[in-house]
């Protein structure tokens, strides 16, 4: 308990913070945040997703400040997010309008528009490339020139901004229950604390901001044994979505009066689960149920796991913790879980003294009265 109470705590804390800065700088290298932005795409995507703040630059600076710890970087971003007033809302975004970079389906060999592999680690061998330790700027420039020469000559006529959704095909076949668009105003879990039972919009928001590892773990639990689901990835697509904001001076909210404010890259997943569906005459048939996952950037495992959990929570089977919305939604947030666990490092001597008092009292009672009868 040397770090508390007695006068001098403030000075010790100042020194600890200086020591932390020393740890970041001691190798005498400046990590330019542009390098992080350039070379740590996946970490940036993960941090932006868990922070629910889409800014590659802020994420890069946060990662620099946090010495690469995603937990700390997310923490910085979230705290900064708290200071931002909400001035505008974008118009609803439709993922049919995504400018697709990668898009695969595990359900069908061939899909309208074709499988587009894009960039993925899935097809690599995870062998450390020792040559990377000696990569030079000249090499990468030559490589990039070659790459763009080949790529520029492509004469593929696929309209990447208008690819049909795989699930629409199943809907047309009547294999997925048709559903109406739900255009009611979504809940906002950052403006109202979540209440249970939670709306689907609240659930999806919490899942998409969830800590990557936590979402994946719980999704895996549901897949392996707690629910023993085996979904099929109907479609996984990655690409940029355009964002528009209504003209604030035009009440009519006309489409062509809206402002384009930029793009966000997202991973979107729709998974299919066979579920029994009741029929009129008492017989059952099998239909496909859906799970939906989406997150900022390219983070495919998280998005798939999210879609599994979305389906679990929608089904809500009391047998499994993975289907219990309080269990899932209240424990996957990075800032909340890491914060509360780290608070155990704070001094607890008042509360501990109180426990001591209680333990001593019960011991004394035992000794004074060996056969205690209340």
């Amino acid at each position: 308990m040397g770090y508390v109470a007695v006068k001098g705590g403030t000075a010790a804390i100042e020194e600890s913070i200086r020591r932390l800065k020393y740890e970041r700088l001691k190798k005498r290298r400046i990590l330019d945040f542009h390098n992080i932005e350039g070379g740590m795409r996946c970490l940036i995507d993960q941090v932006m997703s868990e922070s629910s703040l889409y800014s590659e630059t802020l994420a890069a600076i946060s990662i620099k400040q946090a010495e690469g710890s995603p937990e700390e970087a997310v923490f910085l971003m979230r705290a900064y997010r708290s200071t931002l007033p909400r001035k505008h809302y974008t118009r609803a975004v439709h993922s049919e309008n995504m400018l697709v970079e990668r898009r695969i389906s595990a359900s069908f060999k061939d899909i309208p528009g074709g499988q587009i592999l894009g960039a993925a680690y899935d097809y690599t061998h995870r062998l450390i490339d020792f040559d990377l330790s000696e990569e030079t700027e000249e090499e990468i420039i030559n490589w990039l020139d070659d790459f763009s020469r080949e790529y520029g000559n492509g004469n593929d006529s696929t309209d990447l901004a208008n690819l049909p959704k795989v699930l629409d095909y199943l809907r047309e076949e009547g294999l997925i229950a048709a559903c109406e668009n739900n255009d009611s105003e979504p809940d906002d879990v950052t403006r109202d604390s979540v209440r249970f039972p939670a709306s689907r919009s609240a659930r999806l928001q919490i899942l998409t901001r969830g800590q990557t590892g936590a979402v994946i773990s719980l999704g895996y639990a549901a897949l392996r044994s707690y629910g023993a689901l085996h979904p099929t990835v109907g479609e996984l697509r990655i690409g940029n979505l355009p964002l528009y904001v209504d003209n604030p001076f035009n009440e009519a909210k006309e489409d062509d009066d809206a402002y384009f404010i930029g793009e966000i890259k997202v991973t979107e997943v729709e998974t299919l689960f066979p579920v029994p569906a009741p029929k009129e005459n008492g017989l059952k048939t099998i239909e496909f149920g859906l799970g939906y996952g989406i997150c900022y950037g390219q983070n495919e495992t998280k998005a798939i796991a999210m879609s599994i959990l979305d389906h679990c929570l929608e089904a809500g089977n009391a047998e499994y913790p993975t289907h219990n919305e309080e269990f899932v939604l209240l424990h996957i947030d990075s800032v909340e879980s890491a914060g509360f666990i780290s608070h155990l490092k704070l001094p607890h001597y008042v509360t501990f003294q109180s426990e001591l008092d209680s333990v001593r009292k019960s011991k004394k009672m035992r000794e004074n009265n060996k056969e205690f009868k209340p």
């Binding site: 007695v6 705290a79 950052t190 509360f340 008042v350 003294q353 009292k361």
Partner: protein, 280 residues
Amino acid sequence: MKINYNFAFFDEGSKREIRRATLKAIAIPGYQVPFASREMPIARGWGTGGLQLTLSLIGKEDVLKVIDQGSDESVNAVNIKKLVKATTGITITGITTEATIIQSRHRIPETPLKEGQILVLQVPLPEPLRYYEPSEYETKKLHAEKEYSGAWLMLFEQIMNYGHMSTGADHPVMVHDRYVMAPSPIPRFDNPKMNCAKALILLGAGREKKIYAVPPYTRVRSLDFEDFLFEAESFQGKSCRQCGATGVYLDEILDDATGKTFYQCNDTGFCMQRLNGKPC
């Protein structure tokens, strides 16, 4: 990219929203009002609920005292004071009587609070019924129906098992004969200070996203039984080695050199005032 933070960190809209939840909490003593708890530059579990209350209330004229487990100089207190000072520039004090807002982790100061003061308590687990009911959906119903048999049963079972109520800190209280409330993990010793306190007591749970309050002159009773009364921690026959105070909450400290145990005021601000011969 140079960005300056707003006065008291938050944007004004956020502050207003937190104050609105606070007003509701004051109007319904002991009831946990959900609010859209913001992420703070200090970790969840390190007093973000209290901090949000403090930042939403603080004005340029306020004088702030922050204590952590009784100490003005403990890590948590230092952290919070630094942040408030950096974003507001207001005056910080260690003296209870000088403060208009006192943010505290797990202690109520020994010096009785005055009218006009606000005590902000940091709350890790706001739900007194969580011990036996893990679901928030269920506990909300129990509160609505004033169904508190579980809380009494918990204490009864402790008596049966251990011969006394074995709650440590955070012994549940009944507020104004309506809501059972977690007083935050203050020691049982501090529970009676909440009863008819002259100051406004606000409790903030950041991670659990709840604000609740005990307005001035509100009845607060620690849960107990007619034939088994609530008992505070006992420091009978012990006094502070530094200022000689008795009847206060004491820290138990082991002297490295002699191997003996001695006691010292837990409220360091109170102890300092006595040592300096100042009123406290």
